[in-house]
Structures are given as structure tokens and as C-alpha cells.
Symmetry: C2
Subunit: 306 residues, 2 copies
DNA sequence: TTGTATGCGTTATCAT
DNA sequence: ATGATAACGCATACAA
């Protein structure tokens, strides 16, 4: 042992991988790190994986095109499983993933198939809750700011919101839907577009917080509408910026800690029952965090704020 | 080939690693993904590495304690090199890294040693530029909001700022220094503390943008000071949120694209001259992005904004 | 308990 | 050009 320490010897896990067929590496496929939600989710996932003795082989992916080649790369390193936060939209991707015959755990993906398990936020339920929240504030001209059509989670939030509005007695015809691409700028642009169409909303539910922040800024700068005085706004993800005082944004927290824990459970199970496709779905309740943008935190009413 | 495709055969790179002694995996050691700057930097780094045919073995690390065990893990996977954005503060960490006899590339770390190369933003120069910027705005009571003492980059920015203030003829005694920990909340708290001490700044340079955002909010809420009317504020990193309209924050862009490109160059060079310790330093100019928080963008003067 | 041979799936070398 | 074989460093199984 002394000699080993002196020579700086470190055991080599590579032959062990060959021998055992297990690499203890997990391919983590992620996109959109510019969204603080995914960044913090990755941080938690990486921490949890390491605590389970698993390494993170990271694969950043921009679009579905690069995904295929990315998967080949990952598989050639004999990863034990794949965890992805990509909103798996297309059936082709699901087929590609299933064909790997590797455990796959997805976050917020509606698509399922053999070998694929998912951990989802209760997007539909949160959408309904958002509708009831807006209804409590007497909103008569609600707007739903959707994410990209590929985004299954966004779709579920939208249908939930619509369902919730109906339940509160508001005719669906009163609902205006606009679409963004999950960025701040697209939220800002969506409001600019509403302004041009002459629509003055009094309540907005955005598919994520980044767009909601853009919405709040555009309402003030473009339409002269203050939040929550003139319009209430809610987002999704509860990113750190939602708590920043300039936005003070009501949002739905996905409880990424819980979601990651569930994902780890699925992973352990799938890795235990090797060579047997597992396909499970977990749904985690989202928690409404009421802040000033819906009059909840109350601090936006603070007279100290001009 | 048909049979291979039919059977879903994928070449196995693990034996190739054993054989060639090269894994084409790079250990990426990172902390603080909740800071959008590091998140986007990681995204760019991961993309660049993949374009060079290198895999990312990600290691998220909270403190120096976990770093040691993390390094052992990485090394046992026979990574070819290490890239880290950690502000390497302690000499012990440098010794541990050098002992690995692996190429190491650091971002914004002042510590150097054999096998360790660094790519740094011109922190000192940017600090001086910040001082001149504030001087141009007639600032008489400047405040420097430093990051953690461990953070070498923050220290360089601070000394540069001090140097620059002297150069403009402002006595250093007029400079107030407060310290945060690079988070929004710590920026907010720093201003709260200034308020308690009865200090009313008219110009603030913060070591990073997240703290600067907290500063802007606290100035308004705690001291009733508007930016840039009563006080000018500049940050560092040019995170996406700096461009969000509620902050419209003047900042220094580190040009992470360039820094990543330089890091890749160092990596290629170090991997080419295998078994020979390389130790180089590159310094990249930071670019001042003037926005409304220093009256630059001008949009915060927009009468539409209350 | 300690020691020794074999195999993992490639790459590289050597012989044909 | 094509084909056989050793070697990478560890884990496993079996022998002593």
C-alpha cells in the first residue's frame, strides 16, 4: 500500500467495466441549460447520482437531430442507463431509445414505451390550479402563454388550465392563447403581440417562469400595465429569479428534489432487474408558491416601491 | 453489416480505452450551477468538447472537501484531462491536481502549477474600467461588493477597481468595501447592511451580476434609491438576466465562447504532448456592456416606466 | 487464506 | 490485403 501510494497508483475501473458489463456511468441527456430550472435540476441530479456511486456522462443536445448521434456515442461507452430532461416529443425518439435496450428515465415526458420510465410534474393539475387562482382574482380575460408545441409538459399545463377555467364557469371562448419558446424574449414578444392585437389581459398563466418574467416586463413597458394591480401573472418552475424582488413571481414548484429522488428509485429498480424492460410513471404534485405577482406575497403593494 | 444492424450491435469503446490509454473522456468539475453564468459556460464547454470528439464526465462539487474524493473517482475512469471552473483557492488543491499528472485547464483561477493551465478573464483590467466608468458618472461614494475571499477572480476585480479609482484621483479612503457570497440574496443583504451603517452610495461595482441584481432591488426597496437616477450599478458576467428589462444591468461580458475556444486549444496541446506537463495562462479581455443601470441603455429613463 | 489462469472486446502487431 | 495473436488491467473461478 505504501508503494502504491508512493507511485500514485489508482485502480483502473475500465477493465472492471469490461468484466462486469456495468460501467456505473449514466448518460445524462439535457438541453436548455440557459434555463435556470434545468441547471438546478441537473445540479441535483448529478449530486444524487454521485451519492449512488454513479458517474454522469453528460450530453448536451440542441435538437432531436443531434440526439441520435449522441446516443450512439453514449452507448459506445457502455453506460448503464440514460436520464433525460428533454421533452421527448416524437415517436421516433422513443423508438430510438427503446431500441437501445437500456433503462431510460425521462422527466416531464408524456411519451412512454418499453425501457422508458417517466417522472412527471402534475402539469395538468397545476394548470387547473392556476385557473382557479386566476378566477379567485376575478380574472375575466385570461391568457395562456404556451411553450413550444414539442413540449408535452406545456401542453398538459395548457389543457389543465383550460379545464380549470371551464370548471370555474368561464366560457373557453374568453381564453386567449399565445405561444412562446420558453425564453424571456419570447414572453416579452408575446405581450407585444397581444398589444398589437388590442388585447388587454387581466390574468396570464405562462408555461414557464422565464416567459413570465418577460411578460411582466412587457406589460409594464409596452402596455403600461402593472402587476398585480392591473393584471395577475403566474408561471411554472419556481426558478430562483421568480423570487427576485423585481419579479416576485407566483409560480408552481416542481419539487425537483422529490422528482430526482423518484428518478433514482426508478433507476435502482431498473438496474436491479437487468435485461428486463421497465416502464413506470410517477407523478409529483406541483406546489403553488404565491408571491406578489398575484398579490400573494403582498410586497409588491409595498408603498416603498414606486 | 446487415447482421450487425439487425442485432443492434454497437462498437464498444471500453476495450479501446484499455488498449490505447486514452478514453476521450474529460472530467468537468464544476460548482455553482445555480449561477446562470456557470450554467451557460458549461453548455458551451460541453458543446465544444463534443465537437472535438471528447466526452464530458461531469462532477458537481460543492466544496473543496468533496473535491478530493471526486478526483479519485474521475481518475479511476482514466479521463484524459480535467477542465474546471472552480475558483481554485487553496494551494492544497493545486498540489492534488498536479499530483494527478493529468492536463488540467482552469477558468478564472490564479493558482498555477505543473500540469495546470488557466484561461482567465481580464479581471483586473475590467475592475479598472469599472472605476473609470463610475468616475465618468461623477460617482463620489463608490462601493465595491466583493465575492467570497476564496474567489481569486473577485479579488482581482477588486484590486483593479481600487487601482482604477486611484487613477481617477479619488482617494481610496472614499471606497467602501462590502462582501457577499456571489448570490442574489447576499447582494440584497449587503445593501441592507450599508443602509444600517448609514452609507448612501452613488455608485456600486459588484463582483458578479447576481449580486448586482440583489443590489438594485435592495437599493429601491430598502433605501428608496433608483438606478441609475440616484446610483449607478455595474456587475460582472453578463448573465442573461442582466439584459432583462427590470434590471437592465451594465456588466462585463467574459466572452465565454472565446474562453472555451482557448481552453480547447490548451487541451489539444496538452493532450498532444502526452506525459509532458504543460502550464500556460491565457487572458481574455472582458467587454463592457453598458445598459440602463449606468444610464447607458437609456431605456430605464423611459417615461413609460414608473 | 493465498496464488494462478482465463476472459472481457477491442487495437495493434506480426505473419502469412 | 488478409488473418491470427498478444496485450491492455482487472474480476472471477478454480487450484493449491
Amino acid at each position: 500500500m505504501d508503494a502504491a501510494a508512493h507511485l500514485g497508483y489508482r485502480p483502473n475501473r475500465i477493465p472492471a467495466i469490461m468484466q462486469s458489463g456495468r460501467s456505473y456511468m449514466v448518460g445524462v441527456v439535457i438541453g436548455g441549460l440557459e434555463n435556470p430550472f434545468y441547471a438546478t435540476a441537473l445540479e441535483r441530479l448529478a449530486t444524487a447520482l454521485r451519492e449512488s456511486g454513479l458517474q454522469v456522462l453528460l450530453m448536451h443536445v440542441d435538437d432531436a437531430l443531434t440526439l441520435d448521434s449522441a446516443l450512439d456515442q453514449l452507448v459506445s461507452y457502455r453506460i448503464d442507463a440514460i436520464v433525460t430532461s428533454l421533452a421527448i416529443g416524437s415517436a421516433a425518439v422513443v423508438r430510438a431509445l427503446s431500441a437501445l435496450r437500456l433503462p431510460v428515465v425521462c422527466f416531464n415526458s408524456s411519451r412512454v414505451g418499453p425501457w422508458i420510465s417517466t417522472v412527471n410534474s402534475d402539469n395538468h393539475g397545476a394548470g387547473r390550479a392556476a385557473a382557479h387562482l386566476l378566477a379567485r382574482h376575478g380574472v375575466m380575460r385570461p391568457v395562456w402563454l404556451a411553450g413550444p408545441t414539442k413540449n408535452a409538459a406545456s401542453h398538459a399545463r395548457g389543457t389543465g388550465f383550460c379545464t380549470g377555467l371551464c370548471a370555474t364557469g368561464l366560457p373557453p371562448a374568453h381564453l386567449t392563447t399565445v405561444r412562446g419558446n420558453d425564453t424571456y424574449d419570447s414572453g416579452y414578444a408575446a405581450i407585444t403581440q397581444l398589444d398589437r392585437r388590442g388585447i388587454r389581459p387581466d390574468g396570464i398563466f405562462a408555461s414557464n417562469d422565464m416567459m413570465a418574467c418577460g411578460v411582466i416586463d412587457a406589460l409594464r413597458e409596452r402596455m403600461g400595465l402593472l402587476c398585480p394591480r392591473d393584471v395577475v401573472v403566474a408561471g411554472y418552475d419556481n426558478i430562483p429569479q421568480a423570487a427576485w424582488r423585481s419579479y416576485d413571481l407566483t409560480s408552481f414548484d416542481q419539487h425537483t428534489e422529490q422528482m430526482v429522488a423518484r428518478a433514482m428509485g426508478l433507476l435502482d429498480e431498473a438496474l436491479g432487474t437487468k435485461d428486463t424492460p421497465l416502464s413506470r410513471t410517477h407523478v409529483i404534485d406541483a406546489q403553488l408558491i404565491e408571491r406578489g405577482s398575484t398579490g400573494g406575497g403582498g410586497r409588491n403593494d409595498d408603498p416603498a416601491i414606486p
